[in-house]
């Protein structure tokens, strides 16, 4: 008997999709959703910080501010994560 058909009927998945494939898809889609949300937040934050008076083009100082801002936001995410899980008293 085909092992996939029994597993898919017990887990209620479509016959073409193995459990392993399904779990991979869940992980990929969650990671994509997280990345999209993160990018959107960084865009909003760094636009606020660095493009204070939008001109006819992006200036050099604005672009370098954006680069630093993105790096700092990633760093801030790490600091917050550590603060939450290091001493959750």
């Amino acid at each position: 008997m085909d092992p996939y058909s029994s597993s898919s009927s017990s887990s209620g998945l479509s016959p073409q999709l193995s459990t392993e494939d399904f779990m991979d898809q869940v992980k990929v889609q969650l990671a994509q959703a997280y990345a999209e949300e993160f990018l959107e937040t960084v865009r909003a934050k760094c636009f606020d910080k660095c493009i204070t008076k939008p001109g006819s083009s992006l200036s050099g100082s604005e672009s370098s501010c954006v680069s630093r801002c993105v790096e700092r936001y990633i760093e801030a995410t790490g600091i917050i994560s550590k603060a939450l899980f290091r001493s959750s008293s």
Partner: protein, 78 residues
């Protein structure tokens, strides 16, 4: 282990674990968003100052403390 032999209980456990991870990520993202606004007041530099780093750490931990107070307050309402 042959993944195709996983039963629905194991699948359920996998989904619960992923849900937990997603909630943790969500919490970190939310707090970073809030604490960034509170602590990073100037233009982002090439390094965080020590006061910015401390502020971010305190901000996250105090948010947790506050959450506990609010939760207790609401629990005592009925």
């Amino acid at each position: 282990m042959d993944p195709s032999k996983m039963n629905s209980a194991e699948l359920q456990q996998f989904l619960n674990e992923e849900k937990q991870k997603a909630m943790v990520n969500e919490m970190v993202a939310k707090l970073t968003n809030v604490c960034w606004d509170k602590c990073i007041t100037g233009t982002p530099g090439s390094k965080f100052s020590s006061s910015e780093t401390t502020c971010l750490t305190n901000c996250a931990q105090r948010y947790l403390d506050m959450s506990m107070i609010i939760m207790k307050r609401f629990q005592s309402m009925h």
